[in-house]
């Protein structure tokens, strides 16, 4: 029995072994990799990805997907910048309005998915392009900068040696984990993801679960966008480009199932770190952006393939 548990443990946390292997490889390939400054850098960059992933995990657990995350990040980036610079709004208020808007976008996605039954892939593909376009219109295609000094604290400040974004990410991860594991509606995400009809008949308000999951996704994407804006100190129309890809890849690597019903924050963290270390390590090793894209695409394909094969094996094993 005990050996079985060890085996299960290894299986569950295998992704952490991959993470370890990656760290070893990059530290051999590049002497800078293990420097404290670089590690702090990696973790700080990971925080944006991590915060957005917390939102996406809800959507993926209910069996959906949100492709609009990247453009929501861009949109929030631009509107918060616009509010502060062009309208002179207080940074805190501007951020809250930005996050409120992103939460509404998420709610809209969830509402359409739940009520009009358009596949989430299509709904969020549409909102993706809508809000990317809108961001361009607002910004006129130009970067927006010149924020109040105080705004930079969020993305660039430190508590001791720990960057504030990292602290924010940890808080978000803990909050996400708490919602998923400790609250009754957290369990509903898993139930809806594994069988929506049975959940509805068991008294789960499936539509509301959709609204909540997508709204949370929008909320965390917005928060991530604000942190990014503060870190880069300028509103960019390309801020969130391809961001949804990194988020989805990180979660799938971390064992969140693309078919819904399964996933945990504790494993997702490994996926988030792997994605960020890949980006960082590639840069240190001087691998071109385009080659990075090729490799990252392959990583996602392998991760999803692994998930599917695992599921297939499980099913045939039980049926026989």
């Amino acid at each position: 029995m005990k050996t079985l548990n060890v085996k299960q443990f290894v299986k569950k946390y295998a992704i952490y072994l991959v993470l370890l292997a990656l760290i070893i490889i990059f530290s051999i390939a590049s002497p800078q990799f293990l420097r404290v400054s670089n590690i702090v850098n990696v973790v700080r960059q990971a925080s944006m990805l991590g915060i957005a992933s917390v939102g996406m995990i809800f959507v993926m657990i209910i069996g959906g997907i949100d492709l609009s995350v990247g453009s929501v990040v861009t949109f929030v980036n631009i509107i918060v910048a616009y509010f502060m610079v062009n309208m002179g709004m207080n940074p805190v208020l501007a951020s809250l309005v930005g996050i409120g808007a992103s939460t509404l976008i998420g709610f809209f996605n969830g509402w359409v998915v739940a009520n009009i039954k358009i596949p989430p892939l299509i709904v969020t593909l549409a909102t993706q392009i809508i809000f990317e376009g809108w961001a361009y219109i607002i910004a006129g295609g130009m970067p927006i900068f010149g924020f109040p000094k105080s705004f930079a604290v969020l993305g660039q400040g430190y508590v001791g040696i720990i960057p504030i974004p990292v602290i924010l990410m940890v808080i978000c991860l803990i909050a996400g984990s708490f919602i998923l594991n400790k609250t009754f509606f957290g369990r509903h995400f898993y139930a809806v993801g594994s069988n929506a009809e049975a959940s509805e008949l068991s008294g789960v308000r499936v539509k509301r679960v959709h609204y909540l999951a997508y709204s949370l996704c929008g909320f965390f994407a917005g928060l991530s966008g604000v942190v990014m804006l503060s870190r880069t100190n300028s509103g960019q129309v390309t801020a969130g480009q391809g961001f949804e890809f990194d988020v989805i890849s990180a979660l799938v690597l971390g064992g969140v199932s693309v078919t819904g019903g399964a996933g945990s924050i504790s494993c997702a963290v490994a996926g988030i770190l792997i994605m960020q270390i890949l980006s960082n390590g590639f840069v240190l090793c001087g691998i071109s952006t385009y080659l990075q894209m090729v490799i990252k695409g392959c990583v996602l394909l392998v991760a999803v393939g692994f998930d599917m094969l695992q599921r297939m094996k499980e099913n045939t094993g039980k049926k026989a």
């Binding site: 509606f185 898993y190 139930a191 069988n195 789960v204």
Partner: protein, 495 residues
Amino acid sequence: MSEVILQLKNITKRFPGVVALNNVSFDVRAGEVHALCGENGAGKSTLIKTCTGAVIPDEGEIVIDGQSFKQMTPQLADKYGIAVIYQELNSVGDLSASENVFLGNEIRRGVLVDKKEMARRSAEVFESLNIKINPYELVKNLTVGYRQMIEIAKAVSHNARVLIMDEPSAPLTNNETENMFALVEQLKKKGVAIVYISHRMPEIFRLSDRITVMRDGQYIQTLHTQETSNEELIKLMVGRELSATFPPRKTMVSEEVLLKAENLAGNGVKNISFELKKGEILGFAGLIGAGRTELAELIFGVKEIESGTLTWKGKEVKFHCPQEAIAAGIVLCPEDRKNQGLCLPMNIRDNISLSSARRLSRFCVLDWKKVDEISNSYKEKLQIKTPGLFQQAKNLSGGNQQKVVLAKGLATSPELVIFDEPTRGIDVGAKYEIYKLLNSLIEEGKTIIMISSEMEELIGMADRIIVLAEGHYGGEIRKEEFSQQLIMEYASKSY
């Protein structure tokens, strides 16, 4: 005696932890219907999969036409004409009947599909089997019964010599079942060997020539149908004597009206009125499509009531979703356990606590200790056989899955439990346990609506039966008048 076409000799198959088949032998002759019986988990499915190549046996041999094989492959099975009609049909709705018959084996002229020739040839097959289907009809417009016939026709067009039918009557209405029986007789005359798997005793006695009983992966006995009886067969399947088919129960019907429907309509049912008394088991009978499940969905808030009123404990109600019905004290154990009842990949504890999670939490935070307590208490009370609460629901047998669905409902302390086909696909032994559970619920003061397609079951369990026909109220039968003839008479009314 005609020739043996397919013979399995001393087949053994082990899966990690279980011996699924232990030294099982079985044979089937040309022009014979050989029934395969056993409770769920007896090893019938594994045995079939051995014949088709989906399962590779560890020991034993498979003999076809005197040739011996260590294992089958799908290609070999096809070559020797072994075909299976599964419970879940594999037809493609957007293709025509003839295209389905030739699916994967299309007749071509050059690179193009020759639809005319396919239609002609399938018309021939249909004709030879006495099936009345237009070859050009799209399969999605056909009923389940016809779809099944198309699959059988497909097997015949492949020159099937052994046809394995896995619970073929399960999805069919009585009429369709009759047609299927006629088709089986036809095939028999043509010299096809038929392996017939079913839980329904009357069918087995009506169709089969021989019966092989399996239990727990063991071969038990092969009997000639004419020389055995219902009782003997059940005894062999269960391995013990069942004292009675239905457990006795005290009548608890009170005068208090718990639920009252007046001219209820919507979701395909029309103008239905009835009263449900507290402590009663009210049976709903009817043919498939009579609107029983649809009525349950109306009561439970799954679908919207279009007109008429529903009165629950003296107050007029309209539930907008199942959650409101559950909050009021009604639960539904749906017909299709796997798709509507359970979250199969989730564990038993999470399934049991799904409906009650909300009330087991404070400020949205679940009290896991209470969840464990409740799950454990229902596991004990309903005797759910599982190594632990953390088993995934999909690993349980049908009877135990049904108990988990029930436990989930009971955990919300309901007053009314609606059972839709509570014993469908459950083996004889487990059925008896479910009946006992229903009785104990009544004795605890709960009320039950029981929808069933098995008339014996309704007659054995219910206090009163309401029959629906084509979405309408067909009639009510009091306990003193219970009879299958009367139910059928009401059920076949047409509107």
